[in-house]
Amino acid sequence: MAIGLAITNLDEFTYGKSPKPIKCGRGVEIGNGRVIPEINFTLPPIDINPETWPEVLRQYSEMITGICERAVALGSSGILVEVETLPPMTVNPSWGVEVSRLVADKLDYYYEKRQLHSAFRLTPNDTREHQRPPRMRSGMYWDGMKEFFERSGEAGADLISIESTGGKEINDIALMDADVHALVFALGIIAPRDMEFLWREIVDSCKRNNVIPAGDSACGFANTAMVLAEQRMLPRVFAALVRIASVPRSLVAFEQGAVGPSKDCAYEGPYIKAITGSPISMEGRTAACAHFSSVGNISQAVCDCWSNESVQNVRLLSGYAPTVSMEQLEYDCRLLNVASQTPEDGRKMRDWLVASDSSHDPQAYVLRPDVVMRISKTMIEEDTPYLRVRAGLRCGLAEIRSAISANQLTLPVTEMKWMDRLYRQIDSLPNDETEFIEMMLPKLADAPWIPSEYGF
């Protein structure tokens, strides 16, 4: 269990550099001085079935070829390519393996013929919630996932990630009601239990297959809140707290052996980097194709990979959308890497990225590197995910409150009343985890989850 932060000096908390860099794939280094693009892509509207399968493969081939060609044309020093499978490809791992292999082979080709450095992150889905309520540790969905992990080497993966969803059944309820207690139960109690189970399996499988266990994303939790806040369905300040509350959960993957880069859509990445020292992938304005956000620049401040999250293979005026993303990411990385040729200049760039967003939205504010370090510190002083979530929420809300007083952050008037509501809810969280669990179990008796899947 971590006792101190891996990064203790704010000056050393910056983009492109992390205390524990990674070498992977075809000559790629992550977190060792340069930010590299992480490019993601997906299918346009199409049904996935045996009949459409050849077309699916054609599309993946078209996408990865366009991407590699553009990366070569721009003289990229290296790219990270992610394939996040679609559910049918995980339920039927042979499909997933086939698509992945196709991509890996192309990367080999471009490495040999055109000297393009690359690494390949494979992200199988968490399909366990295809059953409702989900079964987390058995059944056909879990079997499919396990098979896929086991075949990740065959699939050509250099890194494995997942956006796991254990605890989301309760988190969804928490979001709809902006209910802090349910949120803490989801992210502080049951999600970490599932993460421990899941990541032990993944790390073991990675060892057998010589693949790097990279990290997990609280996407189904905190990004859902972010997207809802962006649609004005939830208060932004609540979404900011959900982000903080997701940190202890995502950290579990690293405690089990993940080494990064964390997933692009894990906007909790800066916390992970501060705590563990592992490199992180992040996304922001370049991911506007996938979701709008209020952290377009600040999300870049301490990234090691810079991503577009995901874009469909649609035709734009210049070419296909994945190729367009590739170009944008490469230019963004070029700029960051030129700026960081001296540490002082790199920090200047980082601070501009931070300053350009941090006062507009509490979700941006809690990604400020100094704020991240302070909140992370209070969190890891605690020993269990529950206490860490509680400490993080307390500290986070206090940070937001004092930023507002100091005019460093503006909050829409409609959200002001939420400050007190949230404070009261956080304040009433008991010290004792068992007490909290006993308080919550009856309240969640009717919720669509199976307590025994989480060891209750």
Binding site: P45, I46, P88, D172, L228, R232, P235
Partner: protein, 212 residues
């Protein structure tokens, strides 16, 4: 006589206890339940809707008010003349086959209920057959489908086709939604309506059954 303004306030604030207590007192004093509904409860929900549309209220506030409304409604419904209490129409709703994104669908369902519809929620991962069968059995006037994945969108077309094949499309209107769905797609597959968000979904449903 009981002051009824607190009923309005209680629904607006989502205070179910006060809402129910006020209704009970009023009923003891034999105040016309129709008046409670028309003068206080419905105006309160209208105001909730307005605040939500103008971004003064967020979803949690909307849901909590809807629950207060529901609680109060349950108390007066038995006492109401039949006419006022009938739902506008029955809606069968769900996410399409393979799609587990249900937050949007849940919001649409909640808003439809708040808007006076009876909602039969088939939850997630619903096959065309399930939609058709339930709509038939329940005599629903609307089938509402949600999809968030471009790879599950074809399930919408499959359902429209199934409705057509079952000879049901003259009795049931089909509405669709979800982030990747567009009006163009709705037209293409022969759905009767599409809307961008949950509030617009209620207006759309009203239009489809000729209630607006």
């Amino acid at each position: 006589m009981t002051d009824l303004q607190p009923l309005y306030e209680a629904i607006l604030e989502g205070d179910a206890a006060t809402a129910k207590a006020t209704v009970q007192e009023a009923l003891i004093e034999s105040i016309d339940p129709q008046e409670l509904l028309d003068k206080f409860m419905i105006p309160a929900m209208d105001e909730v809707g307005r605040r939500f549309e103008t971004n003064e209220y967020f979803v949690p506030e909307l849901l909590i008010s809807a629950r207060a409304m529901k609680g109060a409604l349950e108390l007066i419904r038995p006492k109401l003349a039949d006419k006022g209490a009938k739902p506008i129409a029955k809606v069968v709703i769900g996410t399409v086959k393979g799609d587990l994104h249900d937050i949007g669908k849940n919001l649409v369902a909640a808003m439809l209920e708040g808007g006076g519809f009876e909602v039969i929620d088939l939850k997630v991962d619903v096959s065309p057959e399930q939609f058709v069968q339930t709509a038939k059995e329940q005599g629903a006037q609307i089938i509402a489908m949600s999809a968030l994945l471009t790879t599950t969108m074809p399930g919408m077309k499959a359902t429209v086709d199934a409705v057509n094949n079952a000879g049901l499309h003259d009795k049931v209107k089909i509405m669709i939604g979800g982030a990747p769905v567009t009006q163009r797609y709705a037209d293409e597959i022969g759905a009767d309506g599409f809307s961008e968000n949950a509030s617009a979904a209620v207006r759309l449903a009203r239009q489809l059954v000729g209630a607006e």
